[in-house]
Structure formats: structure tokens, C-alpha cells
């Protein structure tokens, strides 16, 4: 007889465990397989579109497919396409995102972020898009961003959708606004609802939208109100027209404010360019035609710094200011020592000599660097705008340059008024013989003063490199304006230079929309000529004994 089969309790337990394990394993495999299946579907989507994405004729279609898909990575893909980071690997038609590395690209698969190593520029082809597609991508991304956890992104998204609302989008936004926690975003969402109601709502909705929008200066609101003000319904037309009038009144006030700001900004550029000349020409009396080239050298210092240390652009300007000052200060001293020193009291010869120096400097930059303009990048903290109202915003770089101009001016004032060096400079310029008799080394002071003027011009060059192009000719653009500002302000008076620069800037900007840029410039010049006829010493004439000389 066989003994009855007895199961060892221990074994039993083991068996149970094994069963459990098998079940778990099955589940896991199933789950994993399921996962894998979903994943590969996503894989297939982007990679199956590779062919279409590569061809300019079908890329729009492919993007539509991505937008309407349910892939959770579509936002990332669309963003990469928009930023020009999505490529197709030519060897196997795999869609990859790239990061630029030395002489090539580092690839990773778009489908699952798997690292795919390096590739040369010719191994991959970029997915190319045009303006139409960029607009489409932005619209699609805005819709996705509506549920972004970052409130700023949501705000941007709603703002972007304002002008392109249809019923579906408006409904989606109004649903979201009920649960929106951020007050700014909520306000924007309500605004979107009103804007939509203006066009598509019933009469009551339209009227309440007009009332709730109030005096809103967004251009889309004005456009819609314009349409409504021609409406057949008298109530709506009247309400829209009334609202529109208020809006236009406010916009016109903002426009005047804007013009003043533009003028101050142009004025600060003019003053900035002229301050150096206010010292060499104003204080020392040297007709310095090479002043513009000092500005150019300062700008080239900025370029040189960015060129030598490419990863340093964010801080390059901060370093460029002392560098440009030092370089142009030294160049100024050398020019003074070699040329100007020998020509004091002979203004005509000084004019010709400095004009020669200016040509010499221009051509040497052309020969040594390149006749082409050089690229100077703007650091990110200098780009963008400060929005005060939809109809009024200030560019950050303009604002920074304005305050930088004021700061340079203050430092210079302090240097001339409060330091011993400044005292000697003023003494020598007012009465050379007497200053020498009192022990001031006039020749050294002259060199230092000219160097200072040149150095300030160099610093101006750093600031101007952010606004305009940097090339061998850039100095030429500023020389006439600089003389104009210094003469108008009153030769020898720094305050005069600042005020003259600012007021000429504002005058120019008020004239420009009225008569056009060309005539505005002529009118300003004519005005200065007439002004100088009446007041030959400018806005703020030098007073006292020195004024006679």
C-alpha cells in the first residue's frame, strides 16, 4: 500500500506561494505587454509620420495628425517642432530630438527619449516649418497649455487664444474658468468669454459683454466693437459706439505717453553718444571728428568679449563696460599725445587731423576684423517688455539704456565737480596759464581729459551695440548728432548736453508721425540752426570770465 500522500504543511505553503507568484507574473507580463503595446502605438505614431514630416508638402497634414492624436507626448513633440529641434534620422527614418554639440548633434528618440548617440549634420534632416505652421503649432500648444500647472503659462495661453476663439474653445475656456484658482488667469478667461460673446452672443449677452469689458484697450476688443457699432440693432450700436469712443480716448492718451517715452529713449541714446564729446569738444574745445570711432571701438570691445568667451553672453555687458572704457581711454590718450597736443589753438587743423584719424580707425577695423558687421548678442535680461497696459509697454533694453545714460552722467558730474582731478580739468580748461602757475601739469591733464572723453564714448558704444549694428561705419551715424546735441546744449555745459539730448529726442518723436522721419530730421536741424542764430551759446551758456575766451 502506498502511504497516503501527505502534503507537508511547509510544502503546501510553498505551493501556494508559487501559485501566487505565477499569477502575479502572469499579471505582470500581461500588464507589461499591455504597456508595451500602448507605448509602441505612440512610437509608431511619431515614427510612422517621419516620411510625411520630412516633406514640406505633407508636413502640415502630419502635424494635424499629431494634434488630433491622444499621445501624451504630443505637446513635447509640437514644441520641439516649433523650436526646430525635431529631426528625422535619414538612415532609418526615426524621428529624433537633437541638442547641438561640437560639429554635430546629440540625438534622442522622440518616441521614448532613448539616447541615440551622436550624429553628423548630414545624417539627419530637420523638420521644416513656415509661418502658417508656426501659427498652427502655437494655437495647438496654447490649447494644451490651458491645463498647464504653471499659471503664467495658462495666462499666456488664454491671451494667445483671444483673437482666434470659436465656440468649442470659448466653451472649454468658460468651463475651466469655473475651477481656475489664479485670479489673473480667471480674469483673462472671463475676458475671453466676453470677447467671444461680442461676436457670437445674443443681444443681451452682447450688451452685457460691452458693459463688462468697459474701457479695454486690446485691439481685438476695438475691432469687435467697431463691427458692433455698425450693427442694425440701435441699442447695441449705441452702446458699442460709446464704449469705443472711451477706448479710443484712452488709447490716444497712451499714444502720447508712448511718444514721450520713445522720445526720452531716443534722447538718452543721443545724450549717451554726445557725453564723451561734451568733454573733448565741450570742455577742452577740441573739434574731435574721431569721436564716433571711439563709440565704434567700444562696441567692438563688446563683440570681442562675446566672441572670445561665447558662453558668457549674460554677463558680457557688465565686463565690457570697464574693458571698453580702458581700451578707448588708452586710444584717446595716444591720439592726444601723438596728434592733438601739437595742434592746440589751431581748430581747423585739429578738425582735419581728427577726421583723418577717424578714417584711419575705420579702415583698420575693416582690414583687421572684417568689412562686414559683427554680431553682438543681447543678453536675455535685456530682452522683453514691461507691459503697463495692452496699449502701452516699454522695452527693457530701452529702459536700461535710459538709466545707464543717467548713471554715466552722474558719475561724470561727480568726477568733474567733486574730485581733485575734476578741479584741475576745469581749471586748465578755463585758464591754462593761471592753472599752470598754480602747479597743475596742464599737458598731463589734457591727455587725461581727452582720454576720459574717449573712454565715455567707448562706454556709450557698449550701450549702443545693443540697439544698432556694430560695423566699421557705425561711428559715422553718431558724429553729426553728437555735435548737434553739444552745440545746442551749450558748449562746455554737461547739464546742457543731457537736456539737449533728451529734448531733441522728444521733439523728433513728436514730429516723426506727423511729417515722416526724413522731414522730422530736417526740421530739427533747421530749428537748431535758427536757435543758434538767436542764442549762439546754446541752451545753457557758460557764464563768468572763462566764457569770453
Amino acid at each position: 500500500m502506498r502511504p497516503p500522500f501527505r502534503v507537508n504543511p511547509h510544502t503546501k505553503n510553498q505551493l501556494h506561494r508559487m501559485r501566487l507568484f505565477t499569477a502575479w507574473l502572469c499579471c505582470a507580463v500581461l500588464l507589461f505587454a499591455g504597456r508595451f503595446a500602448i507605448g509602441s502605438e505612440q512610437n509608431d505614431l511619431i515614427d510612422s509620420l517621419a516620411e510625411e514630416l520630412r516633406d514640406r508638402k505633407t508636413v502640415a497634414q502630419a502635424i494635424d495628425t499629431i494634434v488630433s492624436s491622444s499621445s501624451e507626448k504630443k505637446g513635447e513633440w509640437l514644441e520641439f517642432i516649433l523650436e526646430g529641434k525635431l529631426y528625422v534620422r535619414k538612415s532609418d527614418n526615426k524621428v529624433v530630438s537633437v541638442v547641438k554639440s561640437d560639429g554635430g548633434f546629440t540625438l534622442s528618440a522622440a518616441s521614448n527619449d532613448e539616447a541615440l548617440g551622436e550624429a553628423g549634420k548630414r545624417d539627419v534632416s530637420k523638420i521644416k516649418i513656415n509661418n502658417k505652421l508656426r501659427a498652427k503649432l502655437r494655437a495647438a500648444l496654447a490649447q494644451l497649455a490651458l491645463s498647464n500647472p504653471d499659471p503664467e503659462k495658462r495666462l499666456e495661453a488664454v491671451e494667445q487664444m483671444l483673437s482666434k476663439l470659436d465656440d468649442d474653445k470659448a466653451e472649454a475656456i468658460s468651463k475651466l474658468s469655473a475651477t481656475e484658482s489664479d485670479p489673473d488667469v480667471k480674469e483673462m478667461m472671463v475676458l475671453a468669454g466676453s470677447v467671444h460673446a461680442l461676436e457670437n452672443g445674443s443681444k443681451e449677452e452682447q450688451l452685457s459683454a460691452i458693459a463688462s469689458l468697459g474701457v479695454n484697450t486690446r485691439s481685438i476688443v476695438s475691432q469687435r466693437l467697431q463691427v458692433l457699432s455698425e450693427s442694425e440693432d440701435a441699442d447695441i450700436a449705441a452702446a458699442a459706439a460709446e464704449s469705443l469712443e472711451k477706448i479710443q480716448k484712452r488709447i490716444s492718451i497712451f499714444e502720447k505717453v508712448e511718444t514721450v517715452l520713445f522720445g526720452l529713449s531716443l534722447g538718452s541714446v543721443l545724450a549717451m553718444a554726445a557725453i564723451g564729446l561734451a568733454i573733448t569738444f565741450g570742455v577742452m574745445g577740441v573739434i574731435n571728428m574721431a569721436h564716433g570711432e571711439m563709440i565704434m571701438l567700444g562696441a567692438y570691445c563688446t563683440w570681442f568679449l562675446q566672441y572670445m568667451i561665447p558662453g558668457f553672453i549674460e554677463y558680457s555687458l557688465i565686463v565690457a563696460i570697464p574693458l571698453a572704457f580702458t581700451v578707448t581711454f588708452l586710444v584717446g590718450m595716444v591720439i592726444e599725445f601723438l596728434v592733438i597736443r601739437h595742434l592746440y589753438g589751431r581748430p581747423l587743423e585739429t578738425l582735419l587731423a581728427t577726421f583723418g584719424i577717424s578714417l584711419l580707425l575705420q579702415q583698420s577695423v575693416r582690414t583687421l576684423v572684417s568689412p562686414q558687421n559683427v554680431p553682438v548678442s543681447n543678453p536675455s535680461w535685456l530682452t522683453g517688455q514691461i507691459h503697463i497696459d495692452p496699449a502701452l509697454s516699454i522695452a527693457v533694453n530701452r529702459l536700461v539704456i535710459f538709466f545707464f545714460c543717467i548713471a554715466v552722467f552722474m558719475v561724470l558730474m561727480w568726477l568733474l565737480r567733486r574730485t581733485f582731478f575734476g578741479l584741475k580739468v576745469r581749471a586748465v580748461s578755463q585758464n591754462r596759464q593761471m592753472a599752470r602757475a598754480m602747479g597743475a601739469q596742464s599737458s598731463r591733464i589734457d591727455a587725461m581729459t581727452f582720454g576720459l572723453g574717449a573712454g565715455i564714448a567707448g562706454v556709450a558704444g557698449v550701450a549702443l551695440s545693443q540697439l544698432t549694428n556694430v560695423g566699421p561705419n557705425m561711428g559715422q551715424a553718431y558724429i553729426v548728432d553728437s555735435f548737434m546735441v553739444v552745440v545746442f546744449g551749450g558748449v562746455g555745459n554737461l547739464w546742457g548736453t543731457l537736456l539737449a539730448g533728451l529734448s531733441l529726442g522728444v521733439a523728433n518723436k513728436f514730429l516723426e508721425p506727423w511729417v515722416g522721419a526724413v522731414v522730422a530730421k530736417i526740421l530739427v536741424l533747421v530749428f537748431i540752426i535758427l536757435f543758434i542764430q538767436r542764442y549762439p551759446r546754446g541752451l545753457f551758456p557758460q557764464r563768468g570770465r572763462a566764457a569770453g575766451n
Binding site: 513656415n130 579702415q363 575693416r366 562686414q372 554680431p375 548678442s377 530682452t383 544698432t468 566699421p472 551715424a477
Partner: protein
């Protein structure tokens, strides 16, 4: 005085005789008249180098008519009257057989009388305002119908633009081009208030109020575009200000006729992406001819960062046409070449064949490109066929009946088809 004159005369005759004797072994001289200093050096230096490269390549191929070519380079220094003096020097003193040069319209107008008086040949490689056709000039750049008109068509048909800002620098090329464009737009039904015209001085650097007014003009509901004939250095601050005021290419695209690869190489192009340019050639065009040309150019100039651009292609086409015409005529004699060159066909760099027409303009394709973040253009649209250059615009009332035809029996650059008369004006 008389004795002096006699001596001078005999010396001159002697030199002439000696020159004639030596002529057989002498290289064929080609003049290069591009500014190497002054404001235009930025654009023209590249063309001087292009010419040197083309001459070098031709010599490597065995020269022309069994003789070597020699490039004679002079520097007119961006000084318009000096252009005329230097042109005279090239033709009379250096005895060149053809001149390749000039960039601005005013420099071309300045040398024109010299070329007509001495009956020499000028190849002019830059897009220009038209309304001219000289017996002695071959215009290898675009006429307005090969650049401006197709660009406007593209914006209207493909982008749906309804409002137009015509912004330009205040001189002859933008003024004439804008006059033609205005007439063309009005013909196609655009209302007066939907066109805004703005001129700025050379080197204008403060664009704040203009960009602000363009922005306002574009915010009134209709799709707006800027057609820019802004010249040279003024472009950089213009584009920077567009970026400053958040005007993107998707809202208000700017299509430029004077911004090419060379100009972009001096700018941080990030804020420009998506803005447009209309040319007959882009460096990014993918053809074997262009690959070869760029390869040769980079090797010749010894700098991998350099770019090629439209006027360079124009010189490439013009030089090859001249070479073919000289071979056809069997001589470098300018008057024989002037006759032989009409009808000459050479391959251009965009995959087609350009022909010298009887009005001294050539056939070219028109391409619209979008600026990319690497400073290159991506072609988004091109004409199906090559467009023949039209010297006298059909859209201006003064010139719509005028044609240019340098073949007999007309042989006139300014022929009125209604009155059947040549105006007598040579250009």
C-alpha cells in the same frame, strides 16, 4: 605748348604701338569695380572676391581664347563720382574688355555715361528699380518684376495679406519700386487706406515710432505685411525693434528685398525667424551646381563661416555669359560681344538655365525664403518657371508702352510701342 603737345602725342602713340605689339601675349583683362572701403564695402568686398575666384577658375580651365584672364581691381571707395573716374581708368588706362561692378543705383547711373562714351561693357549684379536699359550694360540682378511683384503675389495669395506697409529708405530704388508696387496693388483692388508708405533716411537707427505705427496699422483686423526696401545698415535696428515690440513674423511678416545671407551674418537672427526675403538665389538651395559653387567659394576664401548670396550668383551667371559670348564671337571686342551675348544660355545655381534677353536683362526664377535661426533662408515658395526680366515696368503709366530691344531693326533701349519711336535716350 605746341612742342609739349607734340611730345606728349608721340609718347602716347609710341605707347599705343608698343601695347599693340605686346597684345597677342597679354592676358585678357577684366575690370572689377567694387568698393573696398567706405559704407558699401560691407556688401561689395564679397563681390570683388567672387570675381577673383571666377577668374581663377576660368584660368584653371585654360583661360579664354587661349589667353589667360587677369582681374584688374580698383577701389571706388563708396564715392559715386569716383566710380565714374575709376571706370574710365579701367577702360582707358587698363584697357579692360569688360567690367563687373557697381552696387547702388547711383553708382550705376554715375558710370553709365562713361561706358556709353567708350562703348565698353558693364555687368551689373544687383537687384534694381528697372526703368533703364543701356546698350552697354547687362543687368544680371533682378528687375522689379523678378522680385517685388512675385513677392507681393505670394503674400496676397498664400498668406492672405490685405493691408500693406511699403517701408523703404529714401532714395531712388525704394521710391521707384514702391511706386510700381502701389500701382500694382491698386490695380488688383487694394484700397488706398490699406496701403501705408513710409520712407526713412539712410542708416536710420531709431525705429520705435515707425514700428509702433506699423503695429497699430496691423491691429485693425486685416492681415498685414511689410514690404521692405530698407537698405543696408538700417535693417538691423529695424528688425531688433520689431523684436522689442513683440511683433512676430506670424502677426506681421516682413518681406525684404535687400536682406540676404551676407547681411544676416552680422546679426543675432533669433528675433528674425520667419520673416521673409525674395531673391533669385539662396545659399540653402539644394542643387549640385550650388554645392559645387559653395564648396569652391569656401575653399577660395579660406573661411568656412562665409556665406554666398544672390548678387554673387548674378556675377557667376554674368561672367559665364560673357565667357560664352566671347567664345561665340571669337574676340573680346566689346561691340562684338554685345551682339553675341544676346540669346546666350548658361546654367544658374538653382537648377535652371538663364538666358540673356534682347533687353539686356536675364531670365531668373523667383524664390521666397523664410529666415531660419542659423541665418539661412528656407525656400517656402518659388515661381514655376523662370521669369524674364522686364526693363520698363508695365504698371507705371509712363513706361507701360515702352520696351527695350537691342536687336535690329529696333536696336533701342527705350522704344515706344505706340508711337513706334525710339526716344533717342540711350538708357
Amino acid at each position: 605748348m605746341k612742342v609739349k603737345g607734340l611730345i606728349a602725342g608721340s609718347i602716347a602713340a609710341g605707347t599705343l604701338f608698343a601695347a599693340q605689339l605686346a597684345h597677342a601675349e597679354d592676358p585678357i583683362k577684366v575690370g572689377v569695380l567694387h568698393s573696398l572701403s567706405g559704407t558699401m564695402a560691407i556688401s561689395e568686398t564679397t563681390l570683388k572676391d567672387t570675381m577673383l575666384m571666377l577668374v581663377e577658375q576660368q584660368n584653371a580651365k585654360g583661360g579664354l581664347l587661349g589667353r589667360d584672364l587677369e582681374a584688374v581691381v580698383v577701389d571706388p571707395a563708396s564715392d559715386w563720382p569716383l566710380f565714374a573716374e575709376k571706370a574710365r581708368e579701367l577702360i582707358e588706362v587698363e584697357k579692360v574688355d569688360a567690367v563687373f561692378g557697381a552696387w547702388t543705383s547711383v553708382s550705376r547711373k554715375s558710370v553709365l555715361p562713361v561706358f556709353e562714351e567708350l562703348d565698353s561693357i558693364l555687368f551689373y549684379p544687383v537687384q534694381y528699380e528697372g526703368e533703364e536699359s543701356s546698350k552697354n550694360v547687362f543687368y544680371t540682378g533682378a528687375a522689379p518684376n523678378q522680385q517685388a511683384i512675385p513677392a507681393v503675389d505670394y503674400l496676397a495669395d498664400e498668406i492672405g495679406v490685405e493691408r500693406w506697409v511699403l517701408a523703404g529708405t529714401d532714395y531712388v530704388y525704394p521710391r521707384t519700386t514702391n511706386k510700381i508696387l502701389e500701382a500694382y496693388l491698386k490695380d488688383s483692388g487694394v484700397a488706398e487706406e490699406d496701403i501705408m508708405i513710409n520712407y526713412t533716411p539712410f542708416g536710420h537707427s531709431d525705429w520705435q515710432s515707425i514700428v509702433s505705427s506699423i503695429k497699430k496699422f496691423g491691429s485693425e483686423g486685416k492681415k498685414t505685411a511689410v514690404v521692405s526696401t530698407i537698405n543696408g545698415d538700417a535693417n538691423v535696428p529695424f528688425y531688433k525693434e520689431l523684436g522689442n515690440q513683440d511683433v512676430s513674423a506670424e502677426d506681421i511678416p516682413v518681406v525684404a528685398f535687400s536682406v540676404g545671407e551676407d547681411e544676416l551674418s552680422g546679426i543675432d537672427t533669433a528675433p528674425l525667424v520667419g520673416h521673409l526675403a525674395a531673391w533669385n538665389y539662396f545659399m540653402s538651395v539644394d542643387t549640385p551646381e550650388n554645392d559645387e559653387f559653395i564648396g569652391n567659394w569656401l575653399k577660395f576664401i579660406g573661411n568656412d563661416e562665409r556665406v554666398s548670396n544672390d548678387p554673387m550668383e548674378a556675377h557667376y551667371i554674368g561672367f559665364n555669359m560673357w565667357v560664352k559670348a566671347v567664345e561665340k564671337a571669337g574676340t573680346t571686342e566689346p561691340s562684338a560681344v554685345q551682339d553675341a551675348i544676346i540669346g546666350v544660355e548658361v546654367p544658374n545655381l538653382t537648377g535652371g538655365t538663364s538666358t540673356m534677353l534682347k533687353n539686356h536683362h536675364i531670365t531668373k526664377p523667383v524664390l521666397i525664403g523664410e529666415i531660419q535661426d542659423d541665418g539661412q533662408f528656407d525656400v517656402v515658395w518659388e515661381t514655376e518657371d523662370l521669369v524674364p526680366g522686364d526693363a520698363w515696368s508695365d504698371f507705371l503709366p509712363d513706361s507701360k508702352d515702352i520696351i527695350s530691344d537691342w536687336l535690329p531693326p529696333i536696336s533701342c533701349g527705350n522704344y515706344n510701342t505706340v508711337t513706334k519711336a525710339c526716344s533717342g535716350q540711350n538708357y
